[in-house]
C-alpha cells in the first residue's frame, strides 16, 4: 500500500499578499526613476532584517509563477518578499494547513511593520489596490498545493460551492486550489475556506489512491517501470520529458518499486526542472536507479 503519512504527502498552503505604495503608479506604469526610488527605499528597509538574492538573469526567476527582480528572505520568519513584481510588494509565505492562521498573523504583522515607513494604496470600497483588479480587496491569495502523483488516474470531485479555481500543474504532481477574488470576504473566510477545501480534497485523493492500488496496481506499476526505463536510458532529459515521467517515478519510489533514489532527490530534480530553461538539460544521473518488482 502507498504510504501517505510522510512529510512530502502533506498539503501545503501558500499565502500571497500584495501591496502598492502611495503615491506611486503601479509597477508596469512606473518610470525608471520611480522604480529606482522604490527599489532603493525597499532595499533600505528590508536589508537589515532580510537576506537578499538577485537572479543571474533579471526578471527571469520564477517564484510560484511570478517573475521577480530581487528577492528578500526574512531572516527569522518564513516570509519572502518580491519587490516590484506585478505590485510594489509581493509577500509570500508557505505553511502547513494546521499553521495557516499563525502564518497569516506573522505575515500581516510584518506588513504592518513596513507600513510605518510608507502608506499603502487603499480605497474604502476596493480595499488594498493592486495592479490586477481581481486581487483588489484583501489582496490576499490563498493557494493550496496537494502532492498528488496519482491524480492522472483519479477522477476527483472538487469541493463544491467554493470560490476556487483548480489549476493542475504540469506534471500533474500537485493539485492547486486557489481563491479568485477577496473582495467582499474577510481574510478569515479566505483562510478557512482554503483550509477546508484542501483537506477535503486530500481525503478524497487518499481514498481514490487506495482504491486505485487495489484495482489498477499492475497498470500503475507498469507505468512506473516504463518511466524508469525511459529516464535511465535517455541521452538527455528536458523538462518536458520529466513532466511526463516524474509522477510515475514518484509513485514507484513511494511503493518501493523504484530504488536507489529518494523522493527528496526526485524533488530536487523537479525543482531544477522548474527553475531552468524549458529546453535545458538536466544534470542528474539516473543510471543507478533500479526496479524491484
Amino acid at each position: 500500500m502507498i504510504d501517505f503519512t510522510g512529510l512530502l504527502q502533506n498539503a501545503q498552503m501558500v499565502l500571497e499578499l500584495r501591496r502598492n505604495i502611495e503615491p506611486y503608479k503601479f509597477t508596469h506604469k512606473l518610470s525608471d526613476a520611480d522604480k529606482k526610488e522604490i527599489g532603493d527605499l525597499l532595499k533600505e528597509i528590508l536589508e537589515p532584517q532580510c537576506v537578499s538574492y538577485t537572479p543571474s538573469q533579471p526578471e527571469s526567476e520564477l517564484v510560484f509563477g511570478h517573475k521577480v527582480r530581487t528577492l528578500y528572505k526574512h531572516a527569522s520568519r518564513p516570509i519572502v518578499i518580491a519587490p516590484l513584481s506585478e505590485d510594489h510588494l509581493h509577500f509570500f509565505t508557505i505553511a502547513n494547513p494546521s499553521e495557516l492562521f499563525s502564518a497569516y498573523d506573522s505575515l500581516i504583522a510584518f506588513e504592518e511593520e513596513l507600513s510605518r515607513r510608507f502608506t499603502y494604496a487603499f480605497h474604502d470600497k476596493f480595499g488594498y489596490l493592486t495592479a490586477g483588479i481581481d486581487y483588489a480587496g484583501a489582496a490576499l491569495t490563498v493557494k493550496s498545493l496537494l502532492f498528488a502523483p496519482l491524480s492522472d488516474y483519479c477522477t476527483l470531485q472538487f469541493p463544491p460551492g467554493m470560490e476556487f479555481v483548480l489549476g493542475r500543474t504540469s506534471p500533474p504532481l500537485f493539485l492547486t486550489l486557489c481563491n479568485i477574488t477577496s473582495l467582499g470576504v474577510t481574510e478569515k473566510y479566505l483562510l478557512e475556506t482554503a483550509k477546508r477545501g484542501i483537506l477535503e480534497l486530500q481525503n478524497e485523493y487518499r481514498s481514490a489512491a487506495r482504491e486505485l492500488m487495489k484495482t489498477s496496481s499492475l497498470e500503475i506499476k507498469d507505468r512506473a517501470v516504463r518511466a524508469l526505463v525511459i529516464v535511465k536510458n535517455a541521452l538527455c532529459l528536458t523538462k518536458k520529458d520529466l513532466d511526463e515521467h516524474l509522477p510515475h517515478l514518484f509513485v514507484g519510489v513511494q511503493n518501493g518499486w523504484v530504488r536507489n533514489i529518494t523522493e527528496a532527490e526526485l524533488f530536487a530534480v523537479y525543482a531544477q526542472a522548474l527553475s531552468s530553461d524549458p529546453l535545458a538539460r538536466l544534470q542528474h544521473d539516473f543510471t543507478s536507479m533500479t526496479f524491484s518488482p
Binding site: 502598492n20 502611495e22 503615491p23 506611486y24 503608479k25 503601479f26 508596469h28 506604469k29 527569522s76 520568519r77 492562521f101 497569516y104 498573523d105 506573522s106 500581516i108 504583522a109 510584518f110 504592518e112 511593520e113 507600513s115 510605518r116 502608506t119 499603502y120 494604496a121 487603499f122 480605497h123 474604502d124 470600497k125 476596493f126 480595499g127 488594498y128 489596490l129 493592486t130 495592479a131 490586477g132 483588479i133 481581481d134 483588489a136 480587496g137 484583501a138 490576499l140 460551492g161 467554493m162 470560490e163 479568485i180 477574488t181 477577496s182 473582495l183 467582499g184 470576504v185 474577510t186 481574510e187 478569515k188 473566510y189 479566505l190 483562510l191
Partner: protein, 147 residues
C-alpha cells in the same frame, strides 16, 4: 460666454472629436448620448472615453488587460471595475477585511512582532515553557483582531 451645445442634439457638450479632412482640422462637439458617438466609436457610454488623469490608462486597455495603472484608476473607473470583477459568493461587492493600521494599532502590531521574535528565540533555545507563555500572550492580543 455663450454656452456650447452638441452639434447634432443641442445638448450639453461632453466630448470634442478632432479629425483631419481635406488638409484641415475639423471639430465635432457632441453630447454624452449623441448618436454620432456610436458612428465613430461604436459605443455611446461616456465611460468609453474615460482616461485616468494620473497614468492616462483608458477604459479599453482596462477591459483588455484587467489591470489598473495607478490608485487613481480605481476612482476614475469605479463602476467599470465593479462590472468587470467576479462577484463573490457572499454577494458583497465592497472590501470588508483588513484595513491599514492607525497609530494605536501599530503599537500593538509592534508588540506582536517582538513577541513573535521572542517566540522564535525561545523555540530555538528549546525553552518550551517560555514559548508556550509567549504563544498564549500573542493569542490573547490577536483574539480581537482580523482575521
Amino acid at each position: 460666454m455663450k454656452h456650447k451645445d452638441c452639434d447634432n442634439c443641442h445638448q450639453d457638450i461632453a466630448f470634442c472629436y478632432k479629425y483631419l479632412e481635406k488638409g484641415g482640422e475639423k471639430r465635432l462637439e457632441m453630447c454624452a448620448q449623441c448618436p454620432k458617438l456610436r458612428e465613430i466609436y461604436g459605443e455611446t457610454s461616456p465611460h468609453a472615453f474615460l482616461r485616468c488623469p494620473e497614468c492616462r490608462l483608458d477604459v479599453h486597455e482596462l477591459r483588455r488587460t484587467k489591470e489598473c495603472g495607478c490608485a487613481s484608476c480605481y476612482s476614475t473607473f469605479e463602476s467599470e471595475i465593479f462590472s468587470l470583477l467576479q462577484k463573490p459568493a457572499s454577494g458583497e461587492t465592497v472590501h470588508i477585511g483588513h484595513k491599514p493600521q492607525t497609530g494605536s494599532d501599530l503599537n500593538l502590531s509592534e508588540k506582536i512582532s517582538s513577541l513573535h521574535l521572542a517566540l522564535n528565540d525561545a523555540l530555538q533555545h528549546e525553552k518550551y515553557e517560555l514559548a508556550a507563555q509567549i504563544r498564549d500572550e500573542i493569542s490573547s492580543i490577536t483574539n480581537g483582531r482580523a482575521p
